[in-house]
C-alpha cells in the first residue's frame, strides 16, 4: 500500500512540476517588459489620482484607512520607502513619518513616569495635542497610530503593542524594551477599568501561587512599570500608565 502511495506521490509531483514549467515557460524578460509598461501607466494614473484626492488622504481618517487596507490586501506597502510612488505622489509618507516622530517624542516624555507603558487612548490624545489646534492636525486616528508604530518596530527600539484578550479592551503601547511575559500581560489585561491591584485580588482571579505572583510583581517594579502604594491598610500596586489611561477614558485632559 505504502509503495503505491509513494510512487503515485512522485508521479503527482512530476505532473505538477511539468504543469508549472509549462506555465512559466515565458521568459522573465517578457514579464519584466510587461511590468515596465504597466508601471508607466500606473504612474500616470497615480499622479492624476493624487491631483484630485491628495487632500482627502491627509484629512479623511476613514478614506486613509480604506486606502491602507486596500494596499495591504493588494500586497503593497505605501510606507515602505519615502522614495516610493505612494509617498512621493500622495504624501502619505510625510503624514505617517511625522506621526512616528511625534509618537516617539510623546513616549520619551512620558516614560520616566509610566516606565514606558502608555495606553493607546492617552498616546492619541497627547499626539493630537502635540500636533496643534488646526482641524487637519486633529485628524489622526487609532488606526493611524498603530500603523505608525508598526513601522517604528523596524528600528528595533522596543516598541510593542499589547493587545487586550479577545480584542476587547484597552490597547497598550510599550516603548521601552523589556520582555513582558504572559503573566505580566495577563495582569495588565485584567485591569480594564482599574489601574491598581492587590495580591489578594490576583490570587483570587488567577489562582496563582504566591511565588508566581511575587516574581511577576517584582519584575514590573524593577522595570519601573509598577508603583507601590503602601497606605497602611494593605499594599496596592498600580501602573502609572494605566492610571493616566483611566483619566483619559473618563474624558479628562492630560
Amino acid at each position: 500500500m505504502r509503495r503505491g502511495v509513494g510512487i503515485s506521490g512522485i508521479n503527482q509531483q512530476l505532473l505538477e512540476k511539468a504543469k508549472f514549467n509549462e506555465k512559466g515557460s515565458e521568459l522573465a524578460r517578457d514579464h519584466l517588459d510587461k511590468l515596465a509598461k504597466q508601471f508607466e501607466t500606473f504612474r500616470d494614473n497615480l499622479e492624476s489620482f493624487a491631483e484630485k484626492h491628495k487632500n482627502e488622504i491627509k484629512k479623511d481618517i476613514a478614506f486613509r484607512r480604506q486606502f491602507q487596507e486596500m494596499c495591504a490586501t493588494v500586497g503593497v506597502d505605501p510606507l515602505a520607502s519615502s522614495k516610493g510612488f505612494w509617498s512621493q505622489a500622495l504624501g502619505v509618507g510625510d503624514f505617517y513619518y511625522e506621526l512616528t516622530v511625534q509618537i516617539v517624542e510623546v513616549c520619551v516624555a512620558t516614560s520616566s513616569q509610566n516606565g514606558g507603558l502608555i495606553s493607546l487612548d492617552e498616546l492619541l490624545l497627547r499626539v493630537r495635542k502635540a500636533r496643534g489646534k488646526s482641524r487637519s492636525a486633529q485628524d489622526v486616528s487609532h488606526d493611524d497610530i498603530l500603523r505608525a508604530i508598526k513601522k517604528l518596530r523596524i528600528l528595533g527600539d522596543g516598541f510593542t503593542v499589547i493587545e487586550p484578550a479577545n480584542n476587547q479592551g484597552r490597547i497598550l503601547i510599550q516603548s521601552i524594551p523589556g520582555e513582558l511575559s504572559m503573566d505580566h500581560t495577563a495582569i495588565l489585561n485584567s485591569l480594564q477599568t482599574r489601574s491598581s491591584f492587590t495580591v489578594e485580588q490576583l490570587r483570587e482571579q488567577f489562582k496563582w501561587s504566591d511565588e508566581r505572583i511575587k516574581t511577576a510583581i517584582d519584575f514590573m517594579i524593577k522595570e519601573g512599570l509598577l508603583w507601590i502604594d503602601n497606605n497602611g491598610r494593605n499594599i496596592e500596586y498600580y501602573f502609572p500608565g494605566l492610571f493616566t489611561a483611566q483619566r483619559v477614558t473618563a474624558g479628562e485632559s492630560v
Binding site: G24, L27, A28, R29, H31, L32, K34, L35, A36, Q38, F39, F42, N45, F49, K52, H53, E56, A62, R65, Q66, F67, M70, C71, T73, V74, G75, V76, D77, L79, A80, S81, S82, K83, G84, F85, S87, G93, D94, Y97, E98, T100, V101, V104, S141, K151, L155, G156, D157, F159, Q168, I176, P177, Q192, T193, D218, I221, K222, T249, A250, G251
Partner: protein, 379 residues
C-alpha cells in the same frame, strides 16, 4: 424605535468597512433600559453592529436620520442618541417587535462616546451605503426613508442641510473611492507579475541581465512590494547616498550624546531637521547597514541585547568602558538611570554600557528589587 434593530450574523458585507468599535455600550429604547447591556458596539460604513455573549444586532445607517450626544448625568453616562425613520418596508426579525419611541440611545458606560459620535456623523454625511448597496434587504429602506422625510417637520431643516452637504461631498467621495478602486486593480496586477518574476529569479531560471535586475528592484521599491529580492539592496543608489547624508548629520549630533544614539532618537532628529520629504524607518535602516562599508565616520552597531544604535566610528570601546567604570567608582555604585542622567544618554543605552563594562570585568552587578546596580569590580 427599537423595532428597527435586526438580528445579524455580524459578518461584514462586500464593500463594507469597519470604522471603530467601543466596549461597554448598552442599548436603550428611547430612554428605557433594555436587556441589551454592556456590549461591543461597532460602526461600519453601512451599519451599527452591537454584540454581547448572547446576541448580535444590527442597525442600518440608512435609517438613522440624525445623531447627537447627551452628556453624562448623575444617573447615566454619556449617551449617543440616534433618531430613526419610520420605515414602510417589512420589518426584519429583531429583538423588539414594536416600540413607542422615535429614537435609540446607546449608553457608553466605558467612554468613547465623543469619538463614536464624530465618526458616525461623518458616515451619515458620506452615506457610503448608497455607493455600494449591501446585498441584503436594506436596499428597500433607502427609498422609503426619502418619502418619510416630509413627515418629520422638526428634523427636516437639519436633514436638508445634511442633504445639501451630501450633494457636495457625494461627488468627490464616490469619485475618490471609484478612482481608488481602479488604482488598486492596477497595483494588484503589477504585484502578480512581480511575484512571477521573483519566483523565476529565486529558482535560478533567471535570464535577466544585472541591469534588468536593478530595474526590477527599483520597481519593487517604488511600489512598496515586499520581496526577498529587495532585501539585498546592495548598491542601491538611493540608500548609499542617503547613508552619506545621514552620516554627516549624525556625526554632529553624536558629539552631543556621548558618541552613541538609539535608532529612534536618530530617526527623530533626522526627520525633524528635514522638515519635509521625511524618510521612512526602513530607509534609515537600509542606509545604516551600508555605512560601515562606505567608511563613513558614523556606523551602525548592534548591541548585545539586539538593540541597534549609531556610534562614531572612531569610538574606542575600551576607553569608553573604563570611563564608565570610573564614574561608577566615584559614586560608589551606579544604576542605569543614574548613568543616563549623568552623561545624557538614553536609559537603554546606559544599561547596555554597564553590562558591557561588566563583561569586560570592570564592574560587578547587584540585582535586587530596588533595581540593578553596578559596583566597581574589586575581584
Amino acid at each position: 424605535m427599537a423595532d428597527r434593530l435586526a438580528w445579524t450574523d455580524g459578518q461584514l458585507h462586500v464593500g463594507e468597512v469597519m470604522i471603530t468599535s467601543q466596549n461597554g455600550v448598552s442599548i436603550n429604547d428611547g430612554s428605557e433600559k433594555t436587556d441589551y447591556q454592556k456590549g461591543l458596539i461597532t460602526l461600519t460604513s453601512h451599519r451599527i453592529l452591537w454584540q454581547d455573549k448572547s446576541a448580535q444586532i444590527e442597525l442600518p445607517l440608512s435609517v438613522v436620520i440624525f445623531s447627537e450626544k447627551k452628556d453624562a448625568s448623575l444617573t447615566s453616562k454619556a449617551r449617543l442618541i440616534c433618531t430613526l425613520s419610520r420605515g414602510q418596508e417589512p420589518k426584519r426579525p429583531g429583538p423588539f417587535a414594536s416600540s413607542r419611541h422615535d429614537e435609540i440611545q446607546f449608553e457608553f458606560r466605558e467612554g468613547g462616546c465623543n469619538d463614536f459620535l464624530r465618526l458616525i456623523q461623518e458616515e451619515l454625511v458620506k452615506k457610503r451605503w448608497l455607493l455600494q448597496p449591501v446585498k441584503s434587504t436594506t436596499t428597500t429602506t433607502m427609498s422609503s426613508t426619502t418619502s418619510d422625510r416630509s413627515h418629520r417637520t422638526g428634523i427636516s431643516g437639519i436633514e436638508n442641510h445634511l442633504q445639501h452637504q451630501l450633494n457636495v461631498q457625494h461627488q468627490s467621495i464616490s469619485g475618490a473611492f471609484q478612482d481608488l478602486n481602479k488604482l488598486m486593480q492596477q497595483a494588484k496586477e503589477m504585484v502578480n507579475i512581480s511575484k512571477t518574476i521573483a519566483t523565476k529569479i529565486q529558482e535560478k531560471r533567471n535570464d535577466l541581465t544585472s541591469d534588468e535586475t536593478i530595474r526590477f528592484r527599483s520597481y519593487l521599491l517604488s511600489l512598496g512590494i515586499d520581496n526577498p529580492v529587495t532585501k539585498e539592496s546592495a548598491g542601491n543608489q538611493y540608500h548609499t547616498s542617503l547613508a552619506k547624508e545621514l552620516s554627516s548629520v549624525l556625526e554632529k549630533a553624536l558629539k552631543d550624546t556621548n558618541g552613541i544614539m538609539t535608532l529612534s532618537d536618530a530617526y527623530c532628529r533626522i526627520n525633524r531637521a528635514r522638515g519635509y520629504e521625511l524618510i521612512s524607518p526602513e530607509d534609515l535602516l537600509n542606509a545604516a547597514v551600508h555605512m560601515e562599508e562606505l567608511n563613513l565616520p558614523v556606523r551602525l552597531r548592534v548591541l548585545s541585547s539586539g538593540t541597534k544604535s549609531f556610534e562614531l566610528t572612531n569610538r574606542n570601546e575600551k576607553k569608553d568602558l573604563q570611563e564608565i567604570a570610573n564614574l561608577a567608582e566615584s559614586s560608589i555604585s551606579m544604576s542605569a538611570d543614574q548613568l543616563a542622567n549623568l552623561i545624557g544618554i538614553p536609559v537603554i543605552v546606559a544599561r547596555e554600557r554597564l553590562i558591557a563594562a561588566e563583561t569586560y570585568g570592570l564592574l560587578c552587578r547587584d540585582d535586587s528589587i530596588e533595581g540593578l546596580r553596578f559596583y566597581p569590580n574589586q575581584f
